[in-house]
Symmetry: C2
Subunit: 272 residues, 2 copies
């Protein structure tokens, strides 16, 4: 491995790893260089395993041997080893996981490619919280959803926190992003997907009822709206059915979006 | 209302609200005074509505009228109004929600009381993250679980973050804590509960299969283990069945504990 020891947090070679909690800086830096950040041993290994091409890896001194079995995969890139204190100054917090990987993004596939052969997909309208996006990917991948489609303003699945919370599911579950919010759902309908809008509002039917009688050739798209406000009126109108997770009457008016998503994915795979 | 304007973050009357992110300080302070903290308008209202007795309320100047309709409920306690900057110095972060309530804890009910009439309960072994405890309470309450039982070392549902993430579900869903980890489950079994241990380990059966044939008089207790490690060998051995949420084979080895809990509660209410 091309191990390079660096003792200065201001060293330009470490620029990919600068101030990981500064959301604005990271957004522009990652867009400009077409990179994303993988954090923690398991997630770095999964990014490599999924075929993402590394730009570099950063290890703290205590964890310098963490990836020594990956010398082959990492032969072409610098492996920076820095003291713990330097890592903390560089990234802006205690890097107790001890490893970060900077990876090249790849172009998103087009919608037809992502949907080819997919029977059960999740469509995220404007989930703005990276933690929620990551959690939904993890559940969707784990439960057997085939693909995820993002509205134009949904948060980035390859943002560091989303990647970490997803435990790398963002690498394996195919996804893409709509360029057109207003008309974007029509492509799904044209491909035969039945659009199920998840909403706790009155007039929705229990998801299991909406799926009763579904056959093995049916295609379903589960639409999930933003935290708090839920789906837009436009997307609710475009849906073929409004569905809900049945709630008990106990002063709790709704589920967290990640809990609702997990249950809805489970029910979709079970009976859809 | 007994409105008291205070401009000094060091004023002793504000001691209940000191350094809300200092976990060690808060644990001892809240235990010593038998208090808990409710954060945000909705959660403060729900604590009052659930019958918890307030010690005081703190409002920032911009939000001073937020609870003015509650003059009756708050007649007996001081309502502190402080400038935004004082609130930030006091609690240790930007109090953008603008309202905090300090409430008296009440003694936990005993296990028999909590389980009387309950058919579906969730038992948390050692969930250590307050966010996870709060999320599980919110899902359990929303989906219709009757009660929650905590192992001795499970995180406190009345800790501020747990309260907030639960959206107040910790006030309405009956719960108590076992004093005996080793033998604690025997009480549940003696009361006729069938103990279902949720675990992704080999040998577990899909939860829906384990519940097939359940009758309306059956009692079920769903055992959830700690983040990462899962249930202890002791509790797995004590269970009547080991159950799992069926997973797709997509490099995702497990669900987040809150997602797994949501799905398991949903399935338990649907078919248990």
């Amino acid at each position: 491995m091309n191990v390079i020891e660096i003792a200065d947090a201001a060293d330009a070679r470490l620029a990919d790893y600068l101030r990981l909690r500064d959301v604005n800086l990271r957004r522009s830096l990652e867009a400009e260089h077409g990179l994303f950040m993988a954090e923690g041993e398991k997630v770095v290994r999964r990014a490599l395993h999924a075929g993402y091409r590394p730009r570099s890896v950063l290890l703290t001194e205590r964890r310098r041997d963490l990836l020594s079995d990956l010398a082959g995969d990492l032969a072409a890139v610098p492996v920076y080893v820095v003291p713990e204190a330097v890592a903390e100054r560089l990234v802006g917090f205690d890097l107790h996981r001890g490893v970060l990987g900077s990876f090249h993004r790849t172009p998103l596939p087009d919608l037809d490619t992502v949907l080819a052969g997919a029977r059960r997909v999740v469509v995220l309208e404007d989930i703005v919280d990276h933690t929620n996006v990551g959690a939904i990917f993890r559940s969707a991948a784990g439960l057997g959803i085939d693909a995820v489609v993002l509205a134009p303003r949904c948060a980035d699945p390859l943002y560091r926190r989303a990647v970490r919370v997803s435990m790398g599911a963002v690498f394996t579950l195919p996804y893409t992003r709509l360029t057109d919010w207003y008309g974007g759902l029509s492509t799904l309908r044209d491909l035969g997907f039945r659009l199920l809008a998840l909403t706790p509002a009155p007039g929705s039917v229990p998801l299991a009822d909406a799926l009763a009688g579904a056959g093995p050739g049916d295609r379903h798209a589960l639409l999930l709206g933003t935290e708090g406000e839920g789906l837009s009126a436009r997307w609710l109108d475009q849906a073929d059915a409004r569905v809900r997770v049945p709630m008990a009457d106990r002063d709790v008016d709704s589920l967290n979006v990640t809990a609702a998503a997990a249950i809805a994915c489970y029910e979709l795979v079970r009976s859809g």
